[in-house]
């Protein structure tokens, strides 16, 4: 591991200034992703600025009936909070479906959505990867694609040598729930504070796969706000994986049924970002929720999907799998 300086400044404003002033500096939350990456040599900072004890570790009621979750609240504490379990079951379920007890006790609200992809090539510094080393190409195309994207990728088979190619997925379960909940991210940066809608936090690879989010260097997540749900709303998270426990999602679904005919759907394991299924939501709006209408809605959502060939027949299985998972999630919610 490359040597680095460690700092725990007096407050968040100083932490932001410290990181902004040093191009390679990074924030440290629980460390469960960052420390792994330091060891793997895929993040090589000169300065690590610890914010775990600087940001808030409390979950506060907001005046509108929502909740403000401080960036240092652990994934365990958030999933165990009574208000979250009762009012936002989709979020508690997503957190509990992720990682393990020993990891959730360290992992933070700020760090979880900013964890990097689990693409095996990204994590292996000996391979070409546009996300890790811009311009080197993408080793995943035609390789091991079981955990890779089918949405938000070019209609044709991506060119593995092009600098913009990346078919990685975002691995966070929590983030899929936050996308369905229309959470709001409170950010403090060198230019001041701003609020970013959670659905806009993560980006598609576009021209620059190295950037996972819209945050600028030095921008710190200080809290995540959960807006209130309408009375009678129901929500759930469903994750499909290769083992019953302790595995990343092949696909996952976060659904919020507001009770007045509107359904919000977010999909995990299918794209570079937590994928808000707005086309499917549009098809379902105001109508009855039957297996046929949900299948039709998902067909519209997945019309532009591009299954990736690769070892073990690639990842085309995700298209029927995510459709069935949405059907099952909504059926359970309506039951």
């Amino acid at each position: 591991m490359k040597p680095f300086a460690y700092a725990r400044p007096a407050d968040v404003a100083e932490a932001v200034r410290d990181v902004a002033a040093e191009p390679t500096a990074v924030f440290l939350g629980g460390g469960t992703n960052l420390v792994d990456h330091l060891k793997l040599g895929i993040v090589r900072p000169d300065l690590v600025v610890d914010v775990r004890t600087l940001t808030s570790r409390s979950i506060d009621d907001l005046q509108d009936g929502g909740l403000r979750v401080g960036a240092a609240v652990t994934n365990s504490e958030l999933a165990a909070d009574r208000r979250v379990r009762e009012r936002y079951p989709v979020l508690a379920q997503a957190l509990l479906a992720g990682a393990t007890g020993q990891l959730r006790n360290l992992a933070t609200t700020g760090g979880n959505p900013l964890q990097r992809t689990r693409c095996v090539y990204f994590q292996d510094a000996s391979t070409a990867c546009n996300k890790r080393e811009p311009g080197t190409g993408c080793s995943a195309v035609g390789g091991y694609t079981r955990y890779h994207a089918v949405l938000g990728v070019p209609a044709a088979l991506p060119d593995p040598t092009a600098p913009e190619t990346c078919i990685a997925t975002h691995p966070s379960d929590m983030a899929v729930a936050l996308a369905a909940l229309d959470a709001q991210v409170q950010v403090l940066g060198p230019a001041g504070a701003r609020t970013v809608p959670f659905v806009d936090l993560h980006r598609l690879p576009g021209e620059d796969p190295s950037r996972d989010t819209v945050l600028e260097h030095g921008e710190l997540i200080t809290a995540i706000d959960l807006p209130p749900l309408p009375a009678g709303a129901r929500s759930a998270y469903r994750k499909v994986r290769d083992r019953a426990s302790y595995a990343f999602a092949l696909v996952s679904v976060a659904a919020v049924a507001s009770g007045n005919g509107d359904v919000r759907l977010a999909l995990g394991g299918v794209a570079h970002k937590p994928w808000r299924a707005t086309r499917a939501e549009g098809v379902l709006r105001g109508g009855p929720l039957t297996e046929d209408t949900v299948r039709a809605a998902m067909a519209a959502e997945l019309a532009a999907a591009q299954p990736q060939p690769g070892v073990d027949s690639g990842n085309g299985f995700k298209i029927p799998l995510v459709t069935r998972t949405v059907v099952a999630t909504l059926r359970d919610l309506e039951a």
């Binding site: 165990a80 508690a92 020993q102």
Partner: protein, 170 residues
């Protein structure tokens, strides 16, 4: 680059100078000579390095020692009080819940954490209901202990050991 930290390990405070890159696991094993937490994978995947960090089970291989200056750490080595084994340790003996023993200190610290989490009413992915009081069913124990891998496959006896220590059936 070096930093000074104080770590209280199994009740004894230690002041030491560590390289900022040192994990809690390496500080315990290499600097303080406490080899009960094991290095299985060093990447957060196996659970062999599990300790109780400020009362909660945590992976010591992904925690930087500098980031936990002032922390209270309990390892499997420090669980026994006055020569009496901790109920979880006793249950692992009674139920023959290990073979080579490499994963065992991590399993035991994790189980101590699990029983505390269950007492607090923390939910799990295996529970039928997010708001019901958790019970130590086979599925609950298997889910809550899934971060501790056992290469010998002693799981069939680990689950009953955790149930026994939790005061349940089995």
């Amino acid at each position: 680059m070096d930093a000074e930290v104080t770590l209280t390990v199994d009740g004894t405070a230690h002041r030491l100078t560590v390289d900022t890159r040192t994990t809690l696991l390496d500080a315990l094993r290499e600097r303080l000579g406490n080899t009960s937490p094991k290095k299985g994978c060093d990447h957060g995947q196996c659970g062999a390095c599990t300790v109780l960090l400020d009362g909660k089970r945590a992976l010591s291989c992904l925690a930087l020692a500098v980031a936990h200056d002032g922390a209270e750490i309990i390892t499997a080595d420090g669980l026994a009080a006055d020569g009496e084994l901790h109920p979880v340790q006793q249950a692992f003996l009674d139920r023959d819940a290990f073979q080579c023993g490499y994963c065992t200190p991590g399993q035991i610290c994790s189980a101590v954490g699990v029983l505390d989490e269950v007492r607090r009413g923390w939910p799990s992915h295996a529970g039928p209901d997010l708001t019901a009081d958790p019970e130590l069913s086979h599925d609950e124990v298997a889910e809550r202990m899934s971060g501790n891998l056992c290469r010998c496959g002693a799981y069939v006896n680990i689950v009953p050991a955790v149930q026994q220590a939790g005061g349940g059936q089995a």
